[in-house]
């Protein structure tokens, strides 16, 4: 499976993501420059973490107007796989490929820590090697990860099983304390109706090898590869 990692000015997890895909999962991987229009025939586009355009205006708000995002949106519309991690998730929300929006973390702090995540839907192209209810330990690093969607949108998302990951306790319980950024419904990761676009605030590429202290992020990439 060929992966393309988009590089915006201000991306800072592009190299980590590239290394995970190329060296850990041994997949052909290329960088995609934000000013280009060529997706280089990749099978999956990854929008990495970072602070594209300094997160000025709103996180992801300027990056969504990058030339390459027009191609990414068309690629997603044709059913191509798109994965947005952290800042990449914020870009997918701003461009409307995923429903909802992000506001500042409830405690107004930049949160850089391991969190526990409950896998809500293990039937997706991004999670099929996992099991429903499984608890994953993956780090987060963000300021604006407080997910919001209007009530009617959230109802639709629940009904269509678009909520993929929720912040939880190590045993899988949902509590106010484990919902570290105050997200509505403790939402940490979602997908689109069609199931080919996923966004998540945690960083699976930072939990892909033992040296990182967790291998739980592998489920996202291994699921994609299983379907390829």
């Amino acid at each position: 499976m060929k992966f393309g990692v988009v590089v915006f000015p201000g991306s800072n997890c592009d190299q980590d993501t590239y290394d995970a895909l190329k060296d850990v999962f041994r997949q052909p991987t290329v960088f995609l420059w934000h000013k280009d229009h060529d997706l280089k025939k990749v099978d999956c586009v990854v929008l990495p973490g970072g602070f594209a355009y300094g997160d000025y205006l709103r996180s992801g708000a300027i990056a969504r107007f990058s030339p390459i995002m027009k191609e990414v949106a068309e690629f997603a519309g044709r059913g191509g796989f798109v994965l947005g991690i952290c800042n990449g998730f914020q870009v997918l929300l701003e461009i409307g490929l995923l429903p909802g929006a992000m506001i500042r973390n409830k405690n107004l702090k930049f949160l850089c820590q391991f969190v526990h995540l409950r896998l809500e839907n293990a039937g997706t192209a991004f999670t099929r090697t996992g099991t429903a209810g499984q608890v994953l330990r993956i780090p987060i690093a963000h300021f604006d990860g407080n997910y919001y969607a209007p009530p009617e949108t959230l109802r639709d998302m629940e009904a269509r099983r678009q909520i993929v990951l929720r912040y939880c306790e190590p045993d899988g319980r949902l509590t106010d304390e484990s919902n570290v950024n105050g997200s509505l419904g403790a939402i940490a990761g979602i997908m689109n109706k069609e199931g080919n676009v996923m966004g998540l605030m945690p960083h699976p590429e930072r939990a892909a090898e033992d040296i990182f202290g967790s291998r739980d992020g592998r489920v996202i990439f291994e699921s994609l590869l299983k379907g390829a």
């Binding site: 929006a101 506001i103 973390n105 407080n146 919001y148």
Partner: protein, 82 residues
């Protein structure tokens, strides 16, 4: 023409920054402050625009770029017609 656009979180959405400012004001004894909402201000300098043009253009810019309509509302006013 100079236009000022004020973007703020919708009233239905909790504003954690506004809440923190409110709490700070209460700590300082300003207990008559009932609520605080924090927002962003943009001042645009526009060339060769009539007021009628502005009524089309500004809402478009606001909806498309300056505000995220899912979480934010905006208001605007003309500061200077020249």
């Amino acid at each position: 023409m100079k236009v000022r656009i004020l973007v703020s979180l919708k009233t239905s959405i909790l504003d954690p920054q506004g809440q923190t400012v409110k709490n700070a004001l209460h700590t300082l004894g300003y207990d008559r402050v009932r609520d605080v909402r924090q927002g962003k201000v943009f001042e645009l300098d526009l060339e060769g625009l009539t007021e009628e043009d502005a009524r089309t253009l500004i809402p478009e810019i606001g909806d498309r770029v300056l505000a995220n309509p899912i979480i934010e509302d905006f208001t605007w006013q003309i500061l200077d017609k020249a």
